[in-house]
Symmetry: C2
């Protein structure tokens, strides 16, 4: 793909975005329902394309976790179709009018949601992201330029072809979904220059990709997805709940950004809590990196998966069956640790003390701050957004999971009867 081809693709997306942005919610919803049905009735091509990706991944000796993320089957396709229908049925984000009022001079003013225009998304691995992001962009009236990972290129191509075929019977212009069907890595650099055609860049993937987009994009970018997630077990706590929450947060999906990384334990419950959570975690093959006080409270065990933490273990996203554990003497100490080391993604307090919970909610400055629940609730689907384009740790525009509303801008409307301001 030549640079001029990429510009051409940007122009087509931009032109399509203008038509798409004027369509009614019914038209957008109809197109999405067509795509959902298409995913159910045209599985064969997609599964064949996916088998090619999986075979290439095996030939290249990709690890089994990566192959798992790549793999499509009938269940996954059905769940993708369900996601599309869920997104289609959400309230129209473009219908929202807010801050409407009549000023003393009789002007009627309001803000109305508008699409952003063209969204550029660079992502890796899982082909279902192709469908989720296409559906969210279409529902919010935005065109999208997709740049998936090379390891899923056949699956993604088949999915995008399916979408475009389904759009033929709808009012949504097929050009509103653009897919870059080339593994050339220079294309990312070219995309980052295309500020005249892409209104927002969203990277989903490794921290090197995220940093590259954050520092190199000529257009606005929303970045995040790097989670250094903390859980603080307070002195006034139900131990069973605290054990279960740390287990769920660490063990169930250790390779994702909302998995637990650092467990902070109040010293007054540490001797009761630590042996229990360490048992549960080691049974689940988690390596535990303890500070000296935690090690001592555990009787300085000589087990291979209970080791002494180093300074490098704080503020790290492990993306692995590994957790760092530290004993603290107060809520204040926990807040200080989080203020120093958190990536502003997800932080949890486990406590029965409502004052401690309120203080934690007020003072922790992260995209999602949680009392007595798993870190894994920092998720668009689980917070009721239908799905998510990404999880933002930026503070501008969108923070936390980005759903439909976060894919919109607004404009002010002013309706008058000839008013002019008084001369200053």
């Amino acid at each position: 793909m030549k640079p001029s081809d990429l510009i051409d693709l940007g122009k087509r997306a931009q032109s399509a975005s203008k038509s798409l942005g004027k369509l009614s919610d019914d038209s957008r919803k109809f197109a999405l329902d067509q795509i959902a049905s298409g995913l159910e009735s045209n599985c064969d091509n997609i599964l064949l394309a996916n088998q090619r990706d999986v075979q290439i991944a095996k030939d290249n000796s990709l690890n089994s976790a990566s192959i798992d993320r790549l793999l499509l089957d009938l269940n996954v396709l059905q769940s993708m179709a369900n996601d599309v229908r869920t997104i289609a049925a959400l309230p129209d984000p473009l219908a929202e009018k807010f801050d409407e009022r009549t000023l003393p001079n009789g002007l009627n003013i309001a803000r109305r949601r508008t699409p952003l225009g063209v969204i550029g998304v660079i992502y890796e691995s899982r082909p279902n992201v192709t469908i989720d992001i296409s559906a969210l962009c279409m529902k919010s009236g935005n065109a999208v330029i997709l740049r998936g990972g090379s390891e899923a290129i056949h699956s993604n191509t088949a999915l995008v072809n399916l979408i475009k075929n389904c759009l033929d019977s709808s009012d949504v212009p097929p050009d509103s979904i653009q897919f870059i069907n080339s593994p050339n890595r220079k294309i990312v650099d070219q995309m980052l220059e295309m500020k005249n055609y892409i209104d927002l860049m969203v990277p989903r993937g490794s921290s090197s990709l995220v940093h590259k987009v954050a520092s190199g994009a000529s257009m606005p970018a929303i970045t995040g997805g790097i989670g250094v997630c903390h859980m603080y077990v307070d002195e006034n706590v139900e131990l069973d709940m605290a054990v279960n929450l740390a287990r769920s947060s660490k063990v169930e999906k250790p390779y994702v950004c909302n998995a637990l990384d650092t467990l902070l334990v109040h010293s007054s419950v540490a001797s009761a809590y630590l042996p229990r959570i360490v048992n549960v975690l080691t049974e689940n093959d988690v390596e535990i990196r303890c500070d000296l006080r935690a090690l001592s409270l555990l009787g300085n065990p000589s087990k291979p998966n209970i080791v002494r933490a180093t300074d490098q273990d704080w503020g790290i996203e492990f993306l692995a069956l590994r957790v760092a554990v530290k004993v603290v003497d107060s809520l204040q100490d926990a807040l200080d640790h989080i203020d120093t080391y958190s990536s502003g993604h997800t932080d949890v307090i486990v406590t029965e003390n409502t004052a401690a919970a309120a203080r934690f909610l007020n003072e922790v400055d992260s995209s999602v701050v949680i009392v007595n629940a798993s870190t894994r609730y920092n998720d668009g689907g689980r917070l009721g957004l239908g799905a998510e384009v990404a999880i933002s740790t930026n503070k501008l525009h969108a923070r936390g999971p980005m759903g439909l509303k976060e894919l919109t801008s607004y404009k002010w409307t002013v309706e008058g009867a000839g008013q002019t301001p008084k001369q200053a």
Copy 2:
């Protein structure tokens, strides 16, 4: 000022922002009321400092419009004090909780507004901007680093010293207002590198400053303030209103971003409208650049201030007593012209046809879209925001006038009783 001094100032602002962000609205309001009183009771120092700036400006032969913008007197100081009290009395932007609900699994979720942290503002000329921006940032819990124009450096220094003195009796840390008291132009480049200390950059001033910040800032930036403002006079129109609106939009403040630049006139009213508006505008010393059809309808006059428009006159922000005039044959032609040439700042339709008004509001993609009122309503004060930090023509985060809400982010809060998500 050395680069290390600037970093030090950034660190102090960041540290102050953390304390400021935790203060109650009463504390922030008290501090603002102290500043308003201070502006009323300590005028002498400020007026003396301002006289120095004005004398230097005269010695350097600045034009009279620039000197006017610079000049402070008791009336201006009183109006600055009034602005501060207005901002102080606005509802607390940090108290807002939104999208609150209880999910089927019992989790209580909400979004809460939070300060952004440290705002960097680079601006020119008018010293009242120092007060407006400081007050908006303080009310919204943000620290601010101010970089004013060198021509107002004595006035701005006196104003910032006054603010800091007033804060001594309040809970707001004086370090939350930082002022760069140096005319060295390299400081702007250094500020743009300080992403670890500045959360948002806002440039207010010339288009070269705006472009420099937009392309060079390492942190998010909100840019705008470049207004190529259109007014479309539809076929179904009250001529008196259409004359008065074009006059107000062009004549009353020709040097600001919300002044009228291009007047589009429907061909069916052009012969009635053009002679009238041209009379009114030329009486007010406006130069009128007409397309051939408009010239012909005016009888091809040979007057020095009615000239033929060139291609360069469309899509231009004149910032002067000058307007471009074009005859169009339909609302569609007007929309096409605006789509091609508007800067997305302010566009107006004058019409008695509600369908035409509705279509214009829907299809014009600008920060403020207006029916039957002056372009000059794209203004934070006039739209009820108290004041504005800037007018954004970006689509991310804030669009149009930026008031208190636009100086905040939000965080999600999740409150549970031990919930963990089902394993996928």
